[in-house]
Symmetry: C2
Subunit: 121 residues, 2 copies
DNA sequence: CTGCATCCAATCTGATACTG
DNA sequence: CAGTATCAGATTGGATGCAG
């Protein structure tokens, strides 16, 4: 194993503490919709409507909420163009791209194994 | 970037489809408590009470629910010893250890960055 | 000790309707 | 197109109480 839990403890001794920064960020990026939105943005810039369609099943409310959270975290950037009709584009920031470099391998592993794992609804 | 979204689409063209296996597994392992329980087990075998204390803030209800889900997925193993008082040990399976090899780097990255990211409660 | 069952409050979600 | 407002339903969380 390349990275040990011990190393994580050294970096953030409070991964297991309720309300610590690590947990907060973890909750944002590993949330049900957070992962999928980030995944969609890994391909490149996306408009609101594109994300809505691409992330199957997400409600407008959750898309808005997820995007606002990730934007506040500095992981996603929002660019609004003063046009009619309105156009708003979302993209990963440098921090976001760095994050996805670490998340993609995990998601890919899951994608490969998922079919063999699933048994409950 | 080592792994591309395109590669994930090739493996599982339905990462974005509601209810697909990849999403189901992703929800289990990346859930609020799932990540923390898996993290605790990365150190090695843990008893029920140890997990309860180590994963700060988790309720018995959620711990039981999380463990049952991960066990059903074949990621965590449960060993019950017929003693008095009872003793039950939880550990990562081979699949689980493989999973954590991919998840630890991500968690570590978050642990390093979290303090700089957090701004909302 | 290791859980499961239940009740109740707090949150989170989602569908619908509506605004700029 | 890009959201916000609202309300009802689903989930989650905590506190107990109890069983193996």
């Amino acid at each position: 194993m390349m990275v040990s839990l011990a190393e994580i403890r050294e970096t953030s001794g409070e991964v297991f503490t309720d309300g610590c920064p690590t947990r907060v960020v973890l909750d944002h990026i590993m949330s049900k919709w957070g992962v999928l939105v980030l995944l969609a943005l890994t391909d490149g810039t996306r408009r609101w409507g594109e994300l809505r369609r691409e992330v199957d099943g997400i409600s407008e409310k959750m898309l808005a909420s997820t995007l606002r959270t990730l934007e506040a975290d500095g992981i996603v950037s929002r660019t609004s163009y003063p046009e009619v009709p309105p156009r708003v584009e979302y993209a990963l920031t440098e921090l976001g791209r760095e994050l996805m470099e670490h998340m993609l391998p995990l998601v890919q592993w899951v994608a490969v194994r998922a079919d063999g794992i699933v048994r409950e609804g």
